[in-house]
């Protein structure tokens, strides 16, 4: 049956056996978790927590907020597990949930900061021992971007997500993610351009 042989061949080409195995294993874990296995869900958390943290960290202002967003995200995912369809990608589904949790935390923080007139709205976690000029300028530059532009450049350039994946996570069209990335890069290059010419 040539049709079947062709189909099998194309499947093998599109997805390497190891990935296919990993996907099947993950699907088994998801099904077990949906049937109430806490151990299966813990295995899913163990497998996805680093990537989930990276997503949250790109969106939130601090490491602590990212950590909270990861916890919230996994908790939401656990509650919504019945609604997850195993033929979907668990990672993509989880990243959307974690991104939403991170955006919520960011919104709550902005409200709190506005209420308390805090000046500590600036972005990434500041290392007290940090004294590198580029690093400080980069932090200041990132602070001038919108939260979404910052998230897009970090998710794309640091974490390697595609425009489509970023759009799915942040709930924006792919073209908007592409445009945000372009503007974020241009703004950072402009802000760091002085530093380049000084050197």
């Amino acid at each position: 049956m040539p049709g079947v042989a062709l189909h099998m061949h194309s499947t093998a080409v599109s997805e390497p056996p190891a990935e296919s195995l990993a996907r099947a294993h993950e699907r088994d874990l998801v099904l077990a978790a949906q049937h109430g296995s806490r151990e299966a869900f813990a295995a899913l958390v163990r497998h996805h927590e680093r990537r989930a943290y990276a997503v949250a960290r790109a969106i939130t202002a601090t490491h602590e907020d990212a950590q909270d967003a990861v916890q919230e995200g996994f908790l939401h995912a656990y509650r919504a597990l019945d609604r997850f369809r195993p033929e979907q990608s668990f990672g993509a589904w989880l990243h959307r949930i974690v991104a939403n949790a991170a955006l919520d935390i960011g919104r709550r923080r902005r409200v709190r900061d506005a209420e308390t007139l805090s000046e500590s709205v600036s972005l990434p976690f500041r290392d007290p021992a940090e004294d590198d000029e580029l690093r400080r300028r980069l932090i200041a530059g990132l602070d001038e971007l919108s939260q979404r532009q910052r998230a897009v450049i970090v998710l794309h350039d640091v974490e390697g997500f595609t425009h489509g994946e970023i759009g799915g996570m942040l709930g924006i069209p792919e073209g908007t993610a592409r445009s945000d990335l372009h503007h974020a890069r241009a703004a950072l290059r402009r802000l760091l351009g002085d530093l380049r010419s000084e050197r």
Binding site: L138, V154, R185
Partner: protein, 122 residues
């Protein structure tokens, strides 16, 4: 950290990307991730632990709410039927009987007898 302009074909600035990676680096300590996993599972455990003893009560609550809703719907339906019947009687039945009585009673005796006949008439 040096910063020279090296923009790749994908538009990515290598030095900028390197600086961003350092800034956004995730914790490397395995203990951190194990602790985070524990915290997540503990929160899930708390949630399950809080919910499970309440589950039978919740089921009773849902059942009671369902019965209350059914009773309220029935009462509402009956109330609407009664209102419609009263409106119908007011419009069609009462005006027809009263003038007929008055027309037939006039001039046939005292007002007291007329009232009595009106009261006992079907």
């Amino acid at each position: 950290m040096s910063f020279e302009p090296r923009i790749g074909p994908n538009g990515r600035d290598d030095d900028l990307t390197r600086a961003l990676r350092e800034l956004y680096a995730a914790p490397v300590d395995e203990g951190y991730w194990a602790a985070l996993l524990e915290r997540i599972m503990a929160r899930i455990g708390e949630e399950d632990g809080w919910w499970q003893p309440l589950a039978p009560l919740a089921r009773i609550g849902v059942l009671a709410a369902g019965i209350a809703l059914a009773v309220a719907s029935l009462a509402l339906t009956r109330s609407r039927e009664a209102t419609a019947r009263m409106a119908y009687e007011t419009v069609f039945e009462t005006p027809r009987s009263v003038p007929l009585q008055i027309a037939t009673e006039r001039g046939q005796g005292s007002e007291r007898e007329a009232t009595l006949r009106y009261v006992i008439s079907p």
